[in-house]
Symmetry: D2
Subunit: 466 residues, 4 copies
C-alpha cells in the first residue's frame, strides 16, 4: 500500500482530496500540507493546493501544483508563499499514463463571478460527452482533464443561477460515475459525494476550521476530529453562516467501493461507519472460516496482507508471526538488480526470518493477486528458508472486470485470474493451496453496508442509467 | 543587453516569438530551440513551445513551458518528447512581477475546432476590457494573462466563421496596442503584426520550412534566410497551399518602436529594411555631430554602448578604444558584494584598462540612463584609473513617458530624468559633460522610417483611437 | 531503527562494512551496492566504496564516497564508472557531528607497496595516541579520522615486513577498543575482528566470490550464503590461494555488544550463532516472566519494539495486536509541525488504531528510553484513543554509562535514566507502570554468549588494559 | 578566453591562485571568493579554499573544494560556514583528464606542527621522481596529485627545521619546472615563484590585508591595489611581523611565459611590469608592420583576437570594426546542433554583421590556430556575408612543441601546424592569405622581458638542468 516499488502491480486509487474552511485569519497552507501528507497513499504522482482569503478581493488566489510527492512539491519556501484561510488540496495518481503537470489538480478558473477552484477523486463517466456538448455550445478549454470540464460546467451554471450551491446542484445532476468533489468559490467550500457513495468523503473540524477529507485519518492526523461521513448524494456547503446540506441527488441505491475496505484506505480510517482495521480483521476471519488449513504459522505480505493475517490467525487459532523483514531503504531511487544478477528486487526489499518458518506450514495472506510476480518470489523465499508448506489466502475475490469509477485495475490481459484457473495459478506461483475470498463473504467485512463489487461480479451500480 | 545582472536597470522587452511551418515530417523541436536561443535577449524569465503534427489528428498537441532560460527549460530529454512539424515558441520577460509558470507562453486551448495555440510579443491595451466583455458573455478562463484572452476571443470567433484566418481578422480588428502574434491552428501557422508596426515580425525560410520570427537574426542563426518583414497590419497565413496575406487591418500611419533600433534588437538583425548595426553607428555619428567634445578616446559601456561609440569615434575622428574588461563569469548566481565590503558588483563585472585611460579625456557612450547607478560606478572607475575627463553621451533622448506597448520602462519615480535636470544628472553621476541624443536626430538612425517615440515625446500613435 | 526522523533519540551505530573478493573478472560494484543497501540501517550519513582489479596494475583504484544514503551516493552513472573484482564498502553514522565528505570511508593511501584501502566499524580507543605517536615520528595525514591513522600505521608496517597480513597483525596488536576492520591491499582482502568480539563480522560466499560483512543478512540479501562468523581476534585473509586465518590476537575473554541483539542488527541476521529475531522474542518473553501485568493487548513501538512485543504476548498469553499505523511518506524532507500547530511530528508519522485500544489495557514494548519524548507522545495518543491503561515494558536495562566502542549513546544529561528514578520516569511519560529488562535476564536473549553490557553495568571489557 | 564552449580548442592554463593574510578578525571567505571569481578564466574545472584563524588553535582549518565554477562551488551557505582571517584559494583546469574532486586544490595536511595547506599553478617537472623518492623513504599519500607531493615534502622538512620558511626554501630548491606556490601554515602565508618566473605571482593589499594573486586584476577587482610582482625565485612570507623575502632560489636567467601575454592573462592585468592590454596592442602593430595587406576592415575573433586587431588597425591605418555579434546565452548547457542540422555551433554563438563586411576586404586576427575548426567556420560565414577577401593574421607563431610547465597544448597530432605547411593551412581554412607572428617580433610585445617561448622554438629554459 505504501511503497510504489514493491506493489507496482496493485490496483491504484486515483486521488485524495482535502479541503479547509477556517474562521480564522491565519494561512491554512501548513494544515493542507499535513492533510495531503496523510492522504499520500491515495496518489503519488502529483500534488496541488489552491487557497484564497475569504475576506480578500474576489479572485485573489494562491496556488501551487507539481509532479511528485507532497513533501517534494511543497517545500518550506513554497508553503510560505501560499496564503489564505479557505482552500482545497489534491493528490493524484494518473490512470491514463499522461504524467504532466498540466493534469495536476486542483484546477481553477476565472470568470464573471470571480474564481472557482475544483478538485476531485473518482471518475465522471460522462465527462467526455459533457465536454463535447460544451464544445458544441462554444466552450473553450485550456486542457484536457475531466476536472476542467466539470469546473467549467459549474462556472457556466453559476452565471445563470443565484448561488454556487444551486449551480453545483444543477451540474452534479448531470454527472454519472463515482466521485467526491471539492469546490472552492471565493468564500465557500462545497463538497459533493456521488449518489451511490462510491467514493468516500467526510467532514471534520479543528479549532475554528471545518475540514472535508477523503479519509477520516487525515483529519485526525492533523489534530482534528471526525464529525461524520458525507452522505451519498449529499452536497455540503460551508460558509460564514455555517454548514448547509442539500440532498437533491440522493438515491435509494447505495454502492460503496469494496476496495477502500480491502486495500485503498488507511488502516486507521473509519469510513461510512466502519473501521477499516476491523473490516480487514473480519475479512481475515471470514477467510479462515471458509478456507481453513492445518498450519503452524499465519503471516501476511507487508503491509497489505498483515491485518487480514492477524484476523485469520485469531479465527484459526494459529499464531500470527512476523515472517518478513522489510528494508525501508529500498525506495524509488534504488537500482534494481538485473536478471543476470540472479536476485529479485523483492529479495532486497523483503527477507524471510528463517527461524520462524523453518519446517513450518505457513499460511500467507495477501489482499490481491494481479500478475503474481511478487507472491511467486515470496513463496520461493519461504520454501528456500525451510517452510514445509505455503498456503496462500487472498483477502479479496479474483478481479475479473474493469472499474469505471476511477480505480486503475490493470488490463484484462495482465490479470492472471482472467488467464488461468485457480488451480493453475496455485501451481504457477508455487503454493501448496490457494483460496480467494468467497464473494458472499465480503459482507463479513462490511456488514449491511451496500457495496459496489463490480470488479468481481460485473454488477455496475449505474448500469441501467447509461 | 545580454546580462541580467549588469543591466537590471535598463528598459526591458517583454517577449520574442518564433514559429515554424515545415513541409517535411521531421520534428521541428530542435529548430524552434535554436530560434528561441537566438531570441533569448528579448526575454529570460520563461520559455515555451507548442507544436503539432499537421498530418496528425486534430488537437494532438505537444507542449512544454517553464521558468528560466531556453537552455534550462529545454533539455535534450524534453526536446526528445516534443513532436510535430508545425509549431510556435516564445521567450518572455514579465512586466508585472508575476513570475509564475502559469503565465508562460504559448497558451493553448481545446475547443470544437480542435486546438489553438497562441503566443505574442507586445501589449494589447484593451485586453482587460475584452476580458471583462467576454466574462460578461460567460467566458471562463483558466488564467489571468492577456494571451489567453486573445486566444479565447479567436477561438470564439472561429466557431462562428468559416476559417481561422477570418476569425483572426475579426478579432485583431478589435485589438488596440502594439503586438506581434503567432497563432497555431492545427494545420496553419498565422502571424499578425499590429497596424502601426510597433512590434517587429519577419518571414524567413529554411529548406522546406517557413519561419516567422521577431528578428531576422534568429532566422539566420538557425541556418535559414530572411524573405521579408511582415507589413504593419498584415495577417499572414501559411498552409499546405502556400502563403497568403490579408491587409484589412492596414492603416496609413506607421510607428515603429525606436527602442528596437536603440537597444532591444540584436546587432545583426535587419528590421523593416534597416540594419540595426548601421542604425546604431549612425546614431553615434549623429551624437558626435550634435555634441562634439575635445577628447582622446571614445568608448562604450559593454555591450549596449559599444556600437554607438564606434560611430561616434568615426565621426569625431577620435580613436575608439576598448576600455572595459568584462568578466563573463559574473552571472546570475554570483554573490553580490555588500555595501560594507566597499566594492560594487559592477566592479567585479567590469574593470578599466588603465593604460588606455590614464591622463586621457574620455567620451563614454551608453544607450540610456535609468537610475544612473551603473554609469556612476563606471565614471568613478575611470577617474580612479587616471582619466582626466569623462564626457557622457547617451544614444537616446531622456525617457520621460511610460510605454503602453509592452516595453517595461521603470516607474516615473525611478527615472532620473524625471527628477533632475540634465545638469543635475551630470553632476550626480560625476561626469564632465552629459548630452542626450537630440530628439530630431533619431531620424539619422532610421531615415524615413515612421517611428513611435512616445517614451520621449508623449506622442502615442493610437491616442486618438482609445 | 530504520527512520532517522522517528527515532532520532535512539543510540546510534556508527558503521557497517562490506567487502568482496571475487575470482571472476566482472565488476563487483553492483554487488557492493546491494550489500551496502542491506546494511544501510547501520549508518545513513555517508557511503563509500573502493575497489580495484586484482589482475590489474598496482594502485589502479576506483573509488567513490559521498554524503547521504547509498541510493543517493551511488547512481547508475557512478556505479558504471567503478571497476574491479575486489573491493570494500562502508556506511557511516557520525558520532562527532563532523558531517563532511572528507570523513567518509573507506580511506585509501598510496605508498611504496601500491594502494591500501581501509574501512572500519567501531572505535579505536587509542587512535588519538597512535596519531600523536606517528606525528612525533613524522607522519603526515591528509585528514583527521581514526581510519586514516590505522591505515597509515598498517602501510608503515607493511614497508618493513614481508606481507600485508604480517603488517596487519603487528598493527592490530597495538589497537585498543572494539572494531571490525576491512583492508584492501591490491590483491588481498583482509578482515579483522577485535579480540573481544565487540563488533560483528562474518564470512559468506556467492558463486566464486567471498564476502566479509557486518551482518549475515546483507550476505543473504545479495543472494549469497553465510559461511561463519569471524572469531573474536581473528585476522582473515582472502587471496588467490584461498582463505587463511591468524589468531595471534586471540584472548580468552569475549564480550559481544548486547545492543546488536537489542537494537542494532537486522531482525533477519544471525550473529555469533544467535538469531537476532529469536533473541528479541526471548527478550520479550523474559520481560513477561519478570514483569507480568494484567492486560488485554500487547503491542510494540514500530519497528523497534514489535518483535519483543510478539515475545511478550506469547509468554503472557495476551494477544499481540498492531496498534499503530505508520505513514511511510513522513520522511526526511517532511516539514515538521511547530509547537503552535499543536501537533507532534510523531502524530503525523504514527497514528493509533482506536478500535484496537478502546477500553483496553495495553502493554507497550519499546527497546529503550533515551529522552522519553516519543514514548510520551505515544502514550498520550493511546489514552486519547480510549486505552484504559498503558503499561510500558522496555526490552533493555536503563542506559547509565557511556560506550567507548563506537555506539553513540546520548550524553549523560540527556539520558532520562540518569536524572530520574524509574517511578519518576513512569509518571513523567504518563504510563500506568514501567519496567526495564532486568540486567541478569539479558542472558535469556543470548544464552551463554559472553556479553559487553558496560552501558548498563559499567563493566568495560578492556578496562584493565588501558 | 572566456567561453569553454567556443574556444575548446585553445591551449589551456592549469590554474589560478589567490591568498589573503588579514590583520583583522573578520572572515575572509567572501574576499577569497571575489578573488577566485576574478581568476576564473584560468581554470573552470574545480575551485577550492582553505582558511584558518591565525589567533585560533593550531590546525583549526576550514575548507571546501568542489567541481565546477567558483559561483557553483561556493554558495552563500558554504561561504557562511568557512571562517578564518588567513587563507588560500585555487581554480583549476585539469590537464590530465582526471576530473575528480579528489584532485581539487588546495590540499591540506595534518602533522606534528599543525596544519599545512598548499595550492599551486604550474607544473613541477620532477614531482613524480620526488614522489617515488618519498615513497621509498616510507611516505604514505592519500592521493595522486603533485600538490600533495610538494606539500608532503614541505611538511617533512618543516619537522626538521626551525621554521616553515626554512622548510620551504629547502624544498623548492629541489623543484624543477614552472610554478607559483601558495602555502598556508597556521599563522603564515608564504608565496613562491619559480626561479625563471615562468608562472606569474604578485603582491597586493586591501585595508589591513595582504594578497598574493596570480594576476593583478584579481587584486583590483576585489577593491585592493597592486604592490609589486613577486620576483622570479622569490620566497615571500607574510606574518604578524610583516613581509619578509628570501632569494636563495634566485637565478640569473629568467623566462616568463609568453602565453600569458598572448592569451592567458586578463586584459586588465599588469604582469612583470607590462600591461597585458598594451602587449597585445603592440603585438597587433608588429603583425601589421611585418605582414601588411590592402584591406577595408580589420577585426578580431571575439574575445581572444579583439585587442590585437585594434593594434593592427591602428598601425595599418585601416578602420577596426566589430564584425561578429556574440550570443552570450550559448553556454555550457546549450544543445549543440548535429551535422545533419547543417549548422555549426559556432554559428549559433557568433554571427556576422553583414553590413560591415559586404564587398569588403577583411583582416581577421586571432591569437592562435590549433585544429583550425573555428577559424574555418568564421571565414565561411564572412564569405557568405559578402566579404571579398579574408586575410588571417595570427598574433602568435605556430605551436610546434609541447609545454612542460603546465600549459595544456593539444597533442602534436592535433596541432595543424605540425601537419601542414602555412600555405596548406591557408587553403584549408579558406583564407586569402595567412600569416603568423614572426618569432623575433614577440619582443615587440614584451620589450626586454626575458621570455620562455619554447612552444615555438623548443628552447626550454631548464633543459640543461634536467
Amino acid at each position: 500500500m505504501n511503497n510504489p516499488f514493491m506493489y507496482d502491480e496493485k490496483p491504484k486509487e486515483e486521488c485524495g482530496v482535502f479541503g479547509i474552511w477556517s474562521s480564522g485569519n491565519q494561512s491554512i497552507s501548513k494544515m493542507l500540507y499535513y492533510g495531503l501528507i496523510a492522504l499520500q497513499h491515495r496518489g503519488q504522482e502529483s500534488a496541488g493546493m489552491v487557497m484564497c482569503d475569504r475576506q480578500g478581493p474576489l479572485g485573489n488566489i494562491s496556488a501551487h501544483r507539481g509532479m511528485g510527492l507532497v513533501s517534494e512539491v511543497f517545500t518550506d519556501e513554497v508553503l510560505g508563499e501560499l496564503h489564505g484561510n479557505i482552500g482545497i488540496g489534491h493528490v493524484r495518481y494518473s490512470t491514463t499514463g499522461e504524467s504532466r503537470v498540466e493534469n495536476a489538480q486542483p484546477v481553477f478558473l476565472n470568470y464573471l463571478k470571480g474564481t472557482l477552484a475544483f478538485a476531485h477523486n473518482g471518475n465522471i463517466r460522462n465527462a467526455g460527452e459533457i465536454r463535447k456538448e460544451l464544445q458544441k455550445k462554444g466552450a473553450i478549454f485550456s486542457g484536457t482533464t475531466d476536472s476542467e470540464v466539470v469546473a467549467y460546467r459549474i462556472a457556466m451554471e453559476r452565471m445563470e443561477t443565484g448561488s454556487i450551491e444551486e449551480a453545483i446542484i444543477n451540474v452534479v445532476e448531470e454527472l454519472r460515475g463515482g466521485y467526491a468533489l471539492l469546490i472552492l468559490s471565493p468564500q465557500k467550500l462545497v463538497g459533493v459525494r456521488d449518489p451511490y457513495g462510491l467514493k468516500p468523503l467526510c467532514l471534520g473540524k479543528k479549532d475554528g476550521a471545518y475540514i472535508l477529507s477523503s479519509e477520516s485519518s487525515a483529519i485526525l492526523s492533523c489534530g482534528g476530529e471526525l464529525i461524520r461521513d458525507i452522505e451519498p448524494g449529499e452536497i455540503i456547503t460551508i460558509t460564514d453562516e455555517g454548514i448547509q446540506s442539500d440532498f437533491s441527488l440522493k438515491k435509494k441505491k447505495h454502492a460503496h467501493c469494496i476496495f477502500e475496505y480491502i486495500y485503498f484506505a488507511r488502516l486507521d480510517s473509519v469510513m461510512d461507519g466502519i473501521s477499516i482495521y476491523d473490516a480487514r480483521i473480519r475479512g481475515g476471519k471470514a477467510l479462515a472460516k471458509r478456507y481453513p488449513v492445518e498450519a503452524d504459522v499465519v503471516t501476511g505480505v507487508p503491509e497489505s496482507g498483515i491485518t487480514s493475517a492477524v484476523g485469520y490467525a485469531q479465527e484459526a487459532g494459529i499464531p500470527f508471526q512476523i515472517v518478513f523483514y522489510k528494508n525501508s531503504y529500498v525506495g524509488r531511487t534504488f537500482i534494481k538488480p538485473s536478471q543476470e544478477e540472479r536476485m529479485s528486487a523483492v529479495h532486497m526489499k523483503l527477507s524471510v526470518l528463517s527461524d520462524v518458518v523453518k519446517d513450518k506450514r505457513i499460511v500467507l495472506i495477501d489482499d490481491s493477486i494481479v500478475r503474481g510476480t511478487t507472491i511467486t518470489n515470496l513463496i520461493t523465499m519461504l520454501k528456500k528458508a525451510g517452510a514445509k508448506e505455503v498456503h496462500v489466502r487472498i483477502s479479496s475475490p479474483p478481479f475479473l472486470y474493469p472499474c469505471f469509477y476511477g480505480t486503475d485495475v490493470p488490463d484484462n490481459k495482465e490479470l492472471i485470474a482472467n488467464e488461468l484457473t485457480k488451480d493453475q495459478i496455485c501451481k504457477k506461483i508455487g503454493a501448496d493451496s490457494l483460496e480467494y475470498m468467497y464473494l458472499e463473504d465480503l459482507k463479513e467485512m462490511t456488514g449491511d453496508l451496500p457495496l459496489c463489487r463490480a470488479c468481481f461480479d460485473k454488477n455496475y451500480p449505474d448500469e441501467s442509467e447509461l
